[in-house]
Amino acid sequence: MTETAETAGRAKALGVALRLGGGFFLAIFGAGIAAGVFSAWQEHGEWRSGVLIGLALAALALATGAWLMLSVRGRIAMPRSPRVRRSRIVFYVSMIVSVALGLLAGIGGQVSDGMPDSHAYLAPITDASPIGRVFAVALLIGWVVVMAVSIYWHMTLDEIERAEYEFGAVLALYGYITITPVWWVAWRGGILPEPNQAIVFVAVCIIWCIGWGWRRWR
């Protein structure tokens, strides 16, 4: 490789890194602004011009971040077969729907609780207080959509990637049939507090991710 080509290669890599880094920074910055604006809006309980300006600023930061990240897509894209491309698209769709559902659960949970404190975002995971029927139905429909997309995504995977996820799933199943009875017996014996299915759910998901990650990068 000539010196000119090497320099051009380094400049290209630097450009990609700067755009990706800037994109991530702006996306996080935008999400931070949005979170702050929503929090302030709940606290004051009314629409103010500051809310609109804040939301517009957050949208601008998010859009610029997304544009920066998408602008390098062509430079780092690798050849992919139609099935792999479809699999990746379905995965991103699943992620977007999941994030939207998470935001809905988080914001909806805070609004329905009426307690805009700094720990309220944890409420959808561990809180068992009643929620509105419409809100519950919306979350359930969203969850069914996420599961349907996930199952379709699973079918688009090649055998190696599927084996990685299935290894994680088996590990998660072992985790579930270990944690559930152990916690239940420990609770009855007065060793642990009453079992919380939400915590078990999160623990099983974490075990699944660990199993998948180990199999993928071992």
């Binding site: 050849p79 077969s81 139609p82 090649d158 055998e159 190696i160 990637e161």
Partner: protein, 65 residues
């Protein structure tokens, strides 16, 4: 199981991504097979053999041949 996938790929000057595209699998899948972390299924082994126009046993070796 040992295999000659990396050598065969290098002979054709293909990247892992290019081979993956030809086999209709992900690049990670090609890497997993090349490094011996995963043994391909029989259908995938046949696809690999057809792509390189070689018998399966000239690509994969179970050490008992």
């Amino acid at each position: 199981m040992n295999n000659r996938l990396k050598v065969l790929r290098a002979e054709r000057n293909w990247s892992q991504a290019e081979l993956a595209e030809r086999l209709d699998v992900s690049r990670q899948a090609v890497n997993a097979i090349e490094t011996g972390k995963h043994d391909p299924s029989l259908p995938l082994a046949f696809r690999i053999a057809r792509l390189f126009a070689l018998p399966i046993e000239e690509i994969f070796d179970d050490g008992n041949g």
